[in-house]
Every structure is written in structure tokens, then in C-alpha cells.
């Protein structure tokens, strides 16, 4: 066959195809059916293990059904069998992006139950660490959200800065991820001597990273196309569905536990609460970015006025004595053992408390019921991720398949906290 023959054959084929296509377009009763696609449980964008069953019409999501529980660890059940101080080690395994905030939130509830007043130094250190954790969390959540959409560089910049923050946590707590740094009435130990200097460096590095991420993403055409007008949540809906934290504030609701029900002396710090307008993925990103600047503000203030003095509360018999004391004096050794042995040591009053703190993801609540024994009768964690993920089917409704990762990244669902 020569070239002209081939050409003619092609023409014929082409006309046939055209005809077929026209007849297809004419027929309206062509059977189509929705496709079911499993997203997860193992998927790079789930950041943990969660499962969404997506019903698709072409590329449009018709229905999303989340299935959770893959990381259910039974923390609440375990909590009923551990003493108040032992539960601290579980709390930081819940949200592994902001372990210190979980530690702080939990002991805050126990201190309210036991009526322990912490020292001023402890308060300042806790505030500084909580805000440093917030910066670390937001750097990762923005970085991974960008990574899922395809912006690899922002993710690397975020992680490089987080490394500095984690080095700081390692110097302070001895561990990077499972910090377990708080104790009821105080902290594991005082911060190292060069803490202020290290923290200032880490904050400066993080701010540099936010600046770089800002330059990369905020006015980036692709990033804005992928995030603006996606997963819109109105302010009224945000409240009704129990959204908190950046998700709530991006929808234009001015509510932050640090401002509206201050704890750890947050009322004495000068900072602002960033608020979005449209409640879409882009606004959640902007709110998180600005929150990092505000956190840096708070850290600076906390470090500037960090008072000297004891790190642990004065109320003996409820707080662990200093380790050096335990080795030196008999009294401290006795208290140390009494606090750790079954049937000894101080017991909390009978009663129940609910306290909430502002974790990077939103309101982290602890509801503790005490029957006066060594272990809590019930520990309930109010996880922000659970309520945010419950919003997912509503947010993704009618969007494209490619928006699934975009919306999921903006909610920053942490499976450990989601399933507990």
C-alpha cells in the first residue's frame, strides 16, 4: 500500500468514527453508571490510615462515604487503667503532629480536677512550647497539603524548618515525636540553659520558611486555581457541624479558645486571631500561614518575660519531686515512690471536669470523670479531627476527584487523633 492509499483509508476510518460519535451524541437514553472508587486506606494523601468510598459520575464526586477506625488504639479504654501521670504518654500519640499541645491540654484538665496551680515559669514554658508546636504542625500541614496537590518545594521548605523545631524539642524533652514532657503540676524537667537562644533560632528559621512558602504559593496561579472556591464552608455550618480551629476561622467566625476562654495566661499576650472570608481551602491555608506569624509573636513575648524559679508546682505530694532531689534526700525518694505505687500517694477528688485548649487543629477537649481512685474513671478526648473529617462528605459534594486531596489536606485530618 502506498501513502495515498493509507491516507484514503484514514479518511474513511475518520468519517466512520465521526458518524458513530454523532449517533452517540444523538441518543440520550444511553446507559451510564456511577463508578465506585476506593480512596485509601493506604494512600499517600491520607497521612495515616483512613478510607473514603467515592461514588463518581465521570470525574465528579457524587457521594463520599468515609470509613474510619483503622488506627483505633483504645486510648480512652487504656486511660481508665493508667494513673493520671501515665496517661500523658498516650496523649502525645494521638496527634503526632502536635504532641506537646496534647500533653499540655491533658494535664491542664487534670490540674483543674486536682486544683493544682502551676508555677509562672512552667506556664511560660508551656505557652512557648505549645506555640512552637503550632508552628511545626502548620508547616507540615501546609507542606503536605501542597505536596498532595503537586507543589513539592513548599513541602521541603516546611520540613526543613520543622527539623529545627524538632531539634529544639529533642533538646528539651529528650524525644522528637513522643515528647511526654508534661507532668501533672509541672514538667518532666526544666528547659536547658540555651533554650531561649535555641527557640529564637528555630522561630527565625520557621519564619524564613513561611516566607518562602508564601512566595511559592500565595500568588501561585496553579495553587490558587486548585484551592480557591474549593470545599467552601459557611460560618453557620462551621459552627453547627462542630468545626474549630483554622477550619472555623477560615469561615469567618472569630473564635479561638486562647481568646474566648483563656488558659495558661494567654490573656496577657498580645496577639491577633486571623480570620478568613470565604471558608474555602485557600482561606484555610491563609489562616494557618498568619497563625504561624502570630505564634512567633507569642513565643517572643513568652521568651522575653520567661521568669526564673521552680518549674514544678509547690504543692508537695501531688507533683513529682526533682530527680536530683530524689537521689539526694530521703523525703523526696519517699514521695517519688508514693506517687508511683498503687494504693499510695494523693488521690483526686470525686468529680468531673471538661477543659478545652486550642490545639493547632482546633478545640482539643478532655472530659475526665474521677471516682477518687488512682486512675480516672473515664477519660474522653474531644478530637478536632473527628468533627472535621465528618464534614468531608459535605465539603466535597459536587467537586472533582482531584479536589479530594485538596480538601483533605486543608482539614489536616490526623488519623491517630481521629480514631484514638
Amino acid at each position: 500500500m502506498n501513502a495515498t492509499d493509507l491516507d484514503q483509508l484514514g479518511q474513511v476510518e475518520f468519517k466512520k468514527l465521526q458518524k458513530e460519535r454523532a449517533s452517540l451524541e444523538r441518543s440520550t437514553d444511553l446507559p451510564t453508571e456511577n463508578m465506585v472508587l476506593n480512596f485509601g486506606p493506604q494512600h499517600p494523601a491520607t497521612h495515616g490510615t483512613l478510607h473514603i468510598v467515592l461514588e463518581l459520575d465521570g470525574e465528579r464526586v457524587v457521594k463520599a462515604t468515609p470509613h474510619i477506625g483503622y488506627l483505633h488504639t483504645g486510648f480512652e479504654k487504656l486511660g481508665e487503667h493508667l494513673s493520671y501521670n501515665q496517661f500523658v504518654t498516650l496523649s502525645d500519640r494521638m496527634n503526632y503532629l502536635s504532641p506537646l499541645c496534647n500533653n499540655i491540654g491533658y494535664v491542664h484538665a487534670v490540674e483543674k480536677l486536682m486544683d493544682i496551680e502551676i508555677t509562672s515559669r512552667c506556664e511560660h514554658v508551656r505557652v512557648a512550647l505549645a506555640e512552637l508546636t503550632r508552628m511545626a504542625d502548620h508547616l507540615v500541614s501546609i507542606g503536605t497539603a501542597a505536596l498532595d496537590i503537586g507543589a513539592f518545594t513548599a513541602f521541603l521548605y516546611g520540613f526543613r524548618a520543622r527539623e529545627e523545631l524538632y531539634d529544639l524539642f529533642e533538646a528539651v524533652c529528650g524525644t522528637r515525636l513522643t515528647t511526654s514532657y508534661t507532668r501533672v503540676g509541672g514538667l518532666l524537667r526544666d528547659v536547658p540553659e540555651n533554650f531561649v537562644e535555641m527557640a529564637k533560632n528555630a522561630v527565625a528559621e520557621s519564619l524564613k520558611a513561611t516566607d518562602e512558602i508564601d512566595k511559592l504559593l500565595t500568588h501561585n496561579r496553579i495553587w490558587r486555581d486548585r484551592t480557591e472556591g474549593i470545599g467552601v464552608l459557611s460560618g453557620d455550618d462551621a459552627i453547627a457541624y462542630g468545626a474549630t480551629g483554622p477550619v472555623l476561622r477560615a469561615s469567618g467566625v472569630d473564635w479561638d479558645v486562647r481568646k474566648n476562654a483563656p488558659y495558661l495566661g494567654y490573656e496577657t499576650y498580645d496577639f491577633e486571631i486571623p480570620i478568613g472570608e470565604n471558608g474555602d481551602v485557600y482561606d484555610r491555608y491563609l489562616v494557618r500561614m498568619e497563625e504561624m506569624n502570630q505564634s512567633a509573636n507569642i513565643i517572643r513575648q513568652a521568651l522575653e518575660r520567661l521568669p526564673s524559679g521552680p518549674i514544678n508546682s509547690d504543692s508537695d505530694h501531688t507533683v513529682f519531686p526533682d530527680k536530683s532531689e530524689v537521689y539526694q534526700s530521703m523525703e523526696s525518694l519517699i514521695y517519688h515512690f508514693k506517687l508511683n505505687m498503687d494504693g499510695h500517694g494523693p488521690l483526686p477528688p470525686v468529680g468531673e471536669v471538661y477543659t478545652s485548649t486550642e490545639a493547632p487543629n482546633g478545640e482539643l477537649g478532655f472530659y475526665i470523670v474521677s471516682d477518687g481512685s488512682r486512675a480516672p474513671y473515664k477519660v474522653r478526648v474531644r478530637p478536632p479531627s473527628l468533627l472535621h473529617f465528618a464534614l468531608f462528605p459535605k465539603l466535597i459534594d459536587g467537586h472533582m476527584l482531584s479536589d479530594v486531596v485538596s480538601v483533605l489536606g486543608s482539614l489536616n485530618v490526623i488519623a491517630g487523633e481521629l480514631d484514638r
Binding site: 474510619i68 477506625g69 483505633h72 483504645g74 480512652e76 479504654k77 487504656l78 487503667h81 483543674k112 480536677l113 460560618g235 453557620d236 455550618d237 462551621a238 459552627i239 453547627a240 457541624y241 462542630g242 469567618g252 467566625v253 472569630d254 473564635w255 474566648n260 476562654a261 480570620i275 468529680g351 468531673e352 471536669v353 471538661y354 478545652s356 478545640e363 477537649g365 472530659y367 470523670v369 471516682d371 474513671y377 473515664k378 474522653r380 474531644r382 473527628l386 468533627l387 473529617f389 465528618a390 480514631d419 484514638r420
Partner: protein
């Protein structure tokens, strides 16, 4: 009026009724409903009977002197070891954005009548929270749109957070079929 305006506008407004007055106010609206009132650790708790639950919760959400528009948390307690006559209690942690005030509402749920009305129609946030309570304690929420297990597998038979469920389980792990 959007939610944001409501909140900014109300920042300087004092609550219409004070803490103790609020109970009297509820009593006046719903006589015989409140079984117990307590205020420990600065947290107000009311125990109310299940009768008219939807009406009562809607009242708490919509009445201009309460406006508990945000359901902060919903959970249950198994009071098996607490010498209580009624075994379960469903606990609602309510918050009012307008008055920045919290209220804890408890609904006793007896063991032989493990039913209570779902509040999803009032606060959509209750959806997954009620599923979790059903999953962990076996309390059935009537009129819930989709009451399924949420954290445990669908074919799981026990209710793990009940006090008579052992910490190490009832052998489900060993007998699990892969």
C-alpha cells in the same frame, strides 16, 4: 445576619440571665424535667430526664437567653461501678458562642431501655459523635440518619468502653479471621 456579625456584636453584651438564674428559667419552661443541678469546678451540669429531649435541646439552642449553638462534645458514661441506679448517661457539652458560656447536660439512659433521641437535627455535629457512643456503649439513638459502628469493625459484637468489657478484650483478636 451572619454568625460572624452575631458574635462581634455581642462581645460587650452581658448574659441576659446569670448562671443560677438560668436554671430557674429552665425550670419555669420545663417543670419536672430537671432532676439534678450541680456546679463543680466552675462547670454547670444539669441532669434532665429524657422526656421531650428534642424540644428541650432545641430550646437550649434557640432561646435568646441561652443560644447554645455549638455542640462541643457528646459522649456517654457507664456508671456501673459508681453505685448508681441508672447505668448509662449520655453527656452533652454545650457552648454558646454569643455568651461564651458552657453547659453540661446529662441524660440518664437505663440499661434495659438503651434508647434516646438523636440530636443530629439540632446540631449536625452530633452525627459521628452519636455513632461513636453507639459503637462504644451500645446506646441507640432514635431517628439518627445513619447509625452504624464507626471505630470498631461492622461485625464486632461487644461494646468496648463498657465497664464490664475487659481491657484485653474477649478474645476477638485471637479469633480474628483474615
Amino acid at each position: 445576619m451572619s454568625e460572624e456579625e452575631k458574635i462581634t456584636e455581642s462581645e460587650d453584651t452581658e448574659p441576659v440571665v446569670t448562671e443560677s438564674d438560668s436554671i430557674h428559667y429552665i425550670r419555669a419552661q420545663f417543670p419536672d424535667l430537671i432532676q439534678e443541678v450541680s456546679n463543680t469546678f466552675g462547670e454547670e451540669t444539669i441532669v434532665v430526664s429524657q422526656v421531650n429531649l428534642i424540644k428541650f435541646m432545641t430550646f437550649l439552642r434557640d432561646d435568646p437567653s441561652f443560644l447554645y449553638n455549638y455542640l462541643s462534645d457528646l459522649t456517654a458514661i457507664d456508671r456501673l461501678n459508681l453505685d448508681d441506679t441508672i447505668r448509662f448517661a449520655v453527656v452533652y457539652q454545650l457552648y454558646s458562642h454569643k455568651f461564651q458560656r458552657r453547659l453540661r447536660v446529662k441524660i440518664p439512659v437505663p440499661e434495659d431501655q438503651l434508647h434516646t433521641e438523636s440530636v443530629v437535627s439540632i446540631w449536625p455535629a452530633a452525627d459521628w459523635l452519636e455513632r461513636e457512643v453507639y459503637d462504644m456503649y451500645g446506646v441507640i439513638f432514635d431517628n439518627h440518619p445513619d447509625l452504624r459502628r464507626i471505630l470498631m469493625p461492622d461485625d464486632f459484637e461487644s461494646y468496648p468502653l463498657r465497664k464490664d468489657y475487659p481491657l484485653h478484650g474477649k478474645g476477638e483478636r485471637d479469633n480474628f479471621v483474615f
